[in-house]
């Protein structure tokens, strides 16, 4: 970040930052379906991807959008789709398929206020659990949560890198506020940005679905005769629809390749977590209120610390546990009716008193004043 030049500073919208980051990360395919508040990502990529030789297409629905993205990934290219809650619902089955077939791709869910059509243009954070448990069966997801335009940019690149590194779908769980607001963003120069590409097989290799934690991934048309299936399969892609051992081996490996990396995947910002009486665990747009609230609380002599989650799943247990070991009270502000709250409570395991602060409706943010009030109540 030291070598920045003036022209690397922009005033961008969150969705625009996400789209530009995708291009930088090497995305060559986007398929989407219009939905507020994610449409700007599709609009921006419709202009940008053809310029870099990529394809952006509007499909007939979200089922088709994510299907096409997964197809493009098997054609050997980085692919993305973007949607909001209702579309994210429709994509769940294919997210499971992408997990089962170990297909790298990025799914952006710009959260809006549900359930159902709810308040379609307003902000909410109600898809936290859906991003973890949305598809059926035993699976694990990697979910990132930006809280600024800068992080929409950084975490989009990170999402592509993780998808390629772990050969799995990655969910960027944004929200209407970070997606629609405009603010200053600093773009690092290209050579300082790490871009990871999937591991390709050697010509003699035949096992693309096993024998190692993260097997190499061929593309179609490369002569590997790859057999891709969402049914239980062996290391060579051959279907086993009834064999207990094959199923255990596959599904346990797929979950383990993510869960075993939980500590490495934890991406959090912490402040005084080793020396505080009151802690805050926060993520996404809601976490924008903590800085002012903490400053004011400290001015009043309160000992306060926080953990801000940039990665939500796998839940950054270790670092949150650290907070629960020092703080007596932990406040969890969320624009939903308690989702991360229960995770914090589970990790805390009775050590700290976990206090919810929930607000839904109208897209109204939890303000620093409301958070401060809760801090003072807890003190």
């Amino acid at each position: 970040m030291k070598q920045l030049r003036r022209e690397n500073i922009r005033f961008w919208q969150g969705n625009e930052a996400c789209a530009e980051a995708a291009v930088i990360a090497g995305c060559k395919f986007f398929a989407g379906y219009p939905i507020t508040p994610a449409s700007e990502i599709a609009e921006h990529l419709a202009e940008r991807l053809p310029q870099v030789g990529g394809v952006a297409i509007q499909m007939e629905d979200e089922l088709a959008s994510i299907g096409a993205a997964v197809g493009a990934s098997w054609a050997g290219f980085k692919a993305m789709t973007a949607t909001s809650g209702p579309g994210f619902d429709l994509m769940q089955e294919t997210i499971g398929w992408a997990f089962m077939t170990e297909t790298p791709c990025v799914i952006v869910d710009v959260q809006r206020l549900g359930p159902s059509t709810g308040q379609a243009t307003k902000c909410g954070q109600g898809d936290v659990m859906q991003s973890r448990w949305g598809t059926h069966g035993d699976y694990s997801s990697i979910v990132l949560s930006p809280n600024s335009v800068q992080e929409m940019f950084e975490l989009t690149i990170k999402a592509f890198n993780l998808a390629e590194r772990y050969r799995t779908p990655i969910i960027l769980l944004a929200d209407e506020i970070v997606a629609h607001m405009r603010e200053k963003i600093v773009i690092p120069i290209a050579k300082n940005m790490e871009v990871i590409n999937r591991k390709k097989p050697e010509p003699y290799e035949k096992a693309f679905f096993g024998l190692q934690d993260i097997p190499p991934m061929p593309a179609v048309g490369e002569g590997f005769n790859v057999a891709v299936t969402g049914s239980t399969h062996d290391a060579y892609g051959i279907r086993f629809t009834a064999d207990a051992q094959e199923h255990r081996q596959l599904v346990e490996r797929l979950n383990n390749k993510i869960q075993s990396q939980a500590e490495k995947l934890a991406d959090v910002e912490t402040y005084k977590i080793d020396d505080c009486e009151i802690g805050i665990v926060s993520f996404g747009c809601t976490s924008r209120a903590i800085y002012e609230a903490v400053e004011k609380a400290e001015a009043k002599g309160l000992k306060i610390g926080y953990t801000r989650l940039r990665s939500i799943w796998p839940f950054p247990e270790k670092i949150v546990r650290q907070l629960t070991e020092t703080a007596k009270k932990i406040i969890v502000p969320e624009m939903n009716l308690k989702q991360i709250f229960y995770e914090v409570q589970r990790v805390s395991n009775g050590r700290a008193d976990v206090i919810p602060l929930n607000k839904i409706g109208g897209g109204e943010l939890i303000t620093p004043e409301e958070l401060l009030e809760k801090i003072e109540e807890s003190a």
Binding site: G53, I57, M59, A64, G67, G71, W74, F77, V220, A227
Partner: protein
Amino acid sequence: MSKSFSVKKYLRPLLLPFCSGCGGITVMSEFLRAANELGYEKLDKFVFCSGIGCSSWIPSPHFVADSVHTLHGRSIPVATGIKLMRPDLHVIVFGGDGDIVGIGLSHFIHAARRNLDILVIMVNNMIYGMTGGQVAPTTPFKAKTTTTPYGSFEYPLDAAKLAVTAGACYVSRWTTAHPKELKDSIKKALRMQGFRFIEAVSQCLTAYGRRAGFKDSWEMLKWFKEKAIPIESAEVMSEKALTGKIVVGEFVRRKRPTLVETIYRTIKEAQK
């Protein structure tokens, strides 16, 4: 073409999962014969996409080729992503009637509308076979199925006509009682561009025929032969006279700009 041709050269040495007398085997072998007659020694320039259902197991994982076995109804979207990024490959979709024109119907219509360069081969057995014989969008009126025990009270969909209306470049329908015509039609479609659709009406004794009163697959094939009306004759017949008939032949063959052409032209323009 050598006389000793065996479709085995295109197949992995696995047991086929189909019931004896299944029409899907005919469609599989006619496709492979067509590929052989066109001179494809290997299927390495092909990608086979399929959904969920018996006929989706025709290519996956049996063909020695790239095969992508997707979700129920989603083979065409996945094929879209593959074809747009690898326009040099032949992308073939195998699916059943439930897969292609039941749960996946909107993708089918839109792919035809866009003129996506893929060949869709729909094995129409008029039933949900893999799940045990439930009524399908293609089940004949009054037919008894496990979910229409008193006979179906719905009229079936004419997928071939729909494909023509939606904009396909090539549409044909044959039955498994017309293997040569089916093979020739596949050969013709493989030489063309744009959205191509072949409907192969196929017998499923296990999940359909038994309940409809057929004793064996052979009887079902005879039924296809009897009910088949060439499209040229059908054109002058009344709707009433055509009820219960299977119109076979070539429904359309035309040229339209394909999606690959229009998309890559757009990309070229954007890069200027």
